[in-house]
């Protein structure tokens, strides 16, 4: 773009200003709503216990990995509700975009906040309750300050996901709905106007950095408090939890169940009758051989990519979180750590379109002939999951009372002993959860896979898109069956990793 100042001219127009403003407010509103529903959700699903909890924890995570066209089809369910359809489908799809954002990101709020909440001491709350404080009072005065860190962290992350979610806006919004991300896509792929694209990327980068600085500023409050005894039993849900339970119940059945069940029901319907035909069709190559690889082959490719993505992003994510969470001797966070934190979050806020073009230009020849290898897909996918892995592990590590480490140190434990014997057992659940997220991101990811994978390296989502970009009931039915498979796989993975191990496993062992 040079230093001519052309890009500055190109970006400062009222048109651009209005789409930047829209990007910000829709993302902020979506993040706010996700937190509003996510905090009671985290309370019910992580701070209280009830039968079936583990399943629901896994279930709410499924939307996060769904390809956007499947979200769009699921959301057609709301069309049948006369009152809602008026509200949601008017205004060129903006309300439905915000609902879909909340639908996809709710589990992030619940899990990030809930992950820290499980480690909180109930003793303080019990004391406040004894003093006559109601649940709500106890929450605002005792619990909330301890959760501030995770709430800010979840909020910033959801904000960035919503600001950068390009597919969702494209598929649910009409021609008049524009975000920075869709505009970047438009000017690069359709107009090849790279100087304008560069200007937009700059705005997006500023937005990303600002979001993190704001989040860091908000989370300056008291760090999470850790007490080992609190892990031994989480109280069961009782009558006084009714408001939180009701909010969560209505939210999950209304906003999460309905679209998912719509997709699954369509998978089991052929010609208005119940049938397994769509699933048996998955063995083949679609109506008239639309697919060049079978769904089974695509499934194996997906599995292989997911394993590599998960390993890579957990390795890098844990190392980075470890580094970020080491306090300086005076207890402050160093400039180096702050800078690194932001650098690792950049891929979330940076346009997938830009990432795609970057890969294309960098890896197509010369030094790194990466382009022609299937490994390029899992590597690109890890870039998308590493920030999330860090955002989950880092707050959990900082929530551990530093006194535990210091005591161990005075007992002459080595840093690796402290890590393996104290920190890992405490954050074990968070580590499992991050592993699950990294895996389902790889499984559901469409953009990078479609852009980077060769024909015989297609994944489940790319095959799904091939099916749904053709007219015909059989292809549509197969696409719905493939979506149901994705839902099933994501649910099983998240169920497997959401551990509720017996307390003695979770008690940190002293070296």
């Amino acid at each position: 773009m040079g230093f001519s100042g052309n890009w500055l001219h190109a970006i400062i127009t009222t048109r651009i200003a209005s789409l930047v403003w829209f990007t910000i407010w829709q993302a902020a509103l979506s993040a706010g709503l996700s937190l509003l529903f996510g905090i009671p959700g985290a309370y019910v699903l992580y701070h209280r216990s009830f039968p079936g909890q583990k399943f629901i924890r896994a279930f709410i995570t499924v939307p996060f990995m769904l390809p956007t066209i499947v979200v769009a089809i699921g959301f057609t369910a709301f069309r049948q509700l006369p009152f809602l359809s008026q509200l949601l489908l008017g205004h060129s799809g903006i309300p439905i975009i915000i609902c879909a954002n909340v639908f996809m990101n709710y589990s992030l709020a619940v899990r990030i906040i809930g992950g820290v909440w499980t480690t909180l001491d109930t003793g303080l709350e019990d004391a406040a309750a004894l003093d006559g404080a109601g649940r709500f009072r106890t929450f605002t005065s005792v619990t909330l300050p301890q959760l501030a860190n995770s709430i800010a962290s979840a909020g910033a992350l959801i904000f960035l996901y919503c600001a950068a979610n390009f597919g969702l806006v494209l598929v649910l919004g009409g021609a008049s709905v524009k975000t920075i991300e869709t505009e970047i896509y438009l000017v690069t792929t359709q107009y090849l106007d790279l100087s304008k694209a560069a200007g937009l990327v700059l705005i997006q980068t500023v937005l990303t950095i600002t979001a993190f600085i704001v989040a860091q500023g908000l989370s300056k409050g008291k760090m999470g408090f850790f007490n080992t005894t609190s892990l031994e039993h989480r109280p069961r849900v009782d009558r006084r939890d009714l408001p939180a339970v009701l909010i969560t119940l209505v939210f999950i059945t209304g906003l999460i169940c309905l679209p998912l069940i719509t997709v699954i029901m369509r998978a089991f319907h052929v010609d208005n009758a119940l049938s397994f035909q769509n699933f048996t069709n998955l063995g083949g190559f679609g109506a008239r051989d639309v697919l060049s690889i079978s769904v089974g082959q695509a499934g194996l490719n997906t599995l292989r990519n997911a394993i590599i993505t998960t390993a890579l992003s957990m390795a890098v994510g844990i190392l980075a979180s470890y580094l970020l969470s080491r306090p300086k001797p005076n207890g402050n966070v160093s400039f180096f750590q702050r800078a690194m934190d932001i650098v690792f979050q950049m891929p979330v806020g940076i346009s997938s379109v830009v990432l795609g073009f970057g890969y294309l230009v960098c890896f197509s020849g010369g030094l790194f002939p990466l382009r022609s290898s299937w490994l390029v897909t899992p590597i690109a996918q890890s870039l998308l999951s590493i920030p999330l892995v860090i955002r989950m592990i880092h707050p959990a590590l900082t929530a551990i009372d530093n006194q535990l480490r210091e005591t161990a140190q005075t007992e002459s434990a080595s840093p690796s002993q402290i890590w393996w014997l104290i920190e890992v057992p405490i954050i074990r659940d968070v580590l499992l959860m991050a592993t699950g997220y990294a895996a389902i991101i790889a499984i559901g990811e469409f953009g990078a896979a479609n852009f980077l994978a060769y024909g015989d390296q297609g994944t489940l989502p790319t095959v799904l898109y091939q099916l749904i970009s053709r007219p015909g009931a059989q292809n549509y039915g197969m696409a719905m069956a493939a979506s149901s498979l994705l839902i099933g796989v994501a649910l099983s993975i998240m169920y497997a990793v959401s551990s509720q191990g017996p307390p003695h496993h979770r008690k940190p062992k002293h070296p």
Binding site: Q190, P369, L375
Partner: protein, 327 residues
């Protein structure tokens, strides 16, 4: 002690990334017999045809998808010094002049197939509501068809761009904008992609949407044949755009000979016969057999509009004017 740990972790990070790159360098080197065909996202080639190509030519065909026709062309322009493949399929007549003026093609583009972008309507819906479906695109602005039509955004969909070009040709440079303004006043819905328009908004597809008229292809009704042997949809044979797709050898291709073999194969009788079933397009080579479902439920538009317009010079201004109406 603290500092050295930092270095240690930093180093191990570098090692992980380095290892990955080494592995990739070893496995990623392309064999000389490989030939890469870059296509748009809708390209379909059956396993049998790929195997047949490999067997008859001795090359190993690899397919690479690069977005819709517009993204495909622009990506190839961006990477023309070291192209991402050897041959290209799927540049259509709306982008062909952009490709040739940017010198990304070695030799010339060869037409491989064509299809007509036309409106489809839901016969069942119109029978149920007891009034006649429109027979021309001008009727879509009439009050009785208010709120019944869904089209694709020409900025993000080649189907949408095709119909925009058809309206420019039909109504002329002075009138096409007022046609679109009347469409907007008649509550036309604009989606960004064909998938959303056809499967979430159109009532005649499996998506069972709320709009009985959709911008799609003249061939689509052949795929909506119900148990009674009748298609639920039909095409409006007016205001159609003839989309022609091209293939060519890329400049600076690593395997030009292989690329030429690919283009030749795309024009062979075997591959041409696969176009209707796999890609829902008509083969360009005359005399290629057409499936029976096609002859009963689809026809080639008797007259098409817009395909002779100069897209290279006008695309941006058409899109800007269209966007001014719909934003």
């Amino acid at each position: 002690m603290k500092f050295s740990r930092k270095i240690l972790i930093g180093l191990s990070l570098v090692v992980v990334v380095g290892l990955v790159l080494v592995v990739v360098n070893i496995t990623g080197n392309k064999k000389p017999k490989d030939v890469v065909l870059v296509t748009h996202d809708s390209f379909v080639m059956s396993k049998e045809l790929i195997a047949d190509f490999d067997k008859t030519t001795g090359y190993k065909l690899k397919l690479l998808k690069a977005g819709d026709a517009g993204s495909l062309t622009n990506r190839l322009i961006l990477t023309k010094a070291t192209p991402i493949g050897d041959a290209v399929f799927g540049i259509d007549n709306t982008f062909a002049s952009l490709a040739t003026s940017n010198n990304i093609i070695d030799g010339s583009l060869s037409a491989t197939d064509f299809g007509d972008v036309c409106f489809n309507y839901d016969k069942v819906w119109f029978a149920k509501h007891k009034f006649a479906a429109p027979s021309s695109v001008s009727e879509l602005t009439l009050p009785k068809f208010k709120g019944l039509t869904v089209v694709e955004n020409p900025n993000t969909s080649s189907t949408g761009l095709s119909f925009l070009a058809a309206t420019v040709d039909m109504f002329g440079t002075s009138q096409w904008e007022s046609y679109w303004r009347s469409l907007k006043k008649n509550a036309i819905k604009v989606d960004n992609g064909w998938e959303a328009a056809y499967y979430t908004d159109f009532s005649g597809s499996s998506g069972k949407g709320a709009y009985p008229i959709v911008l799609s292809y003249a061939s689509s009704p052949a795929d909506e044949v119900r148990a009674d042997g009748q298609s639920q949809t039909a095409s409006i044979m007016d205001g159609c755009f003839r989309q022609t797709e091209y293939a060519g050898v890329l400049k600076n291709a690593k395997n030009s000979a292989g690329a030429r073999a690919v283009v030749k194969y795309l024009l062979s009788a075997k591959f041409q016969a696969s176009f209707p079933e796999a890609m829902y397009m008509y083969p360009i080579v005359t005399g290629t057999p057409i499936p029976t479902a096609w002859s009963s439920f689809t026809q080639v538009a008797p007259h098409t509009y817009g395909d002779k317009l100069d897209f290279n010079t006008n695309r941006k201004s058409w899109l800007a004017k269209w966007s001014a109406i719909f934003e």
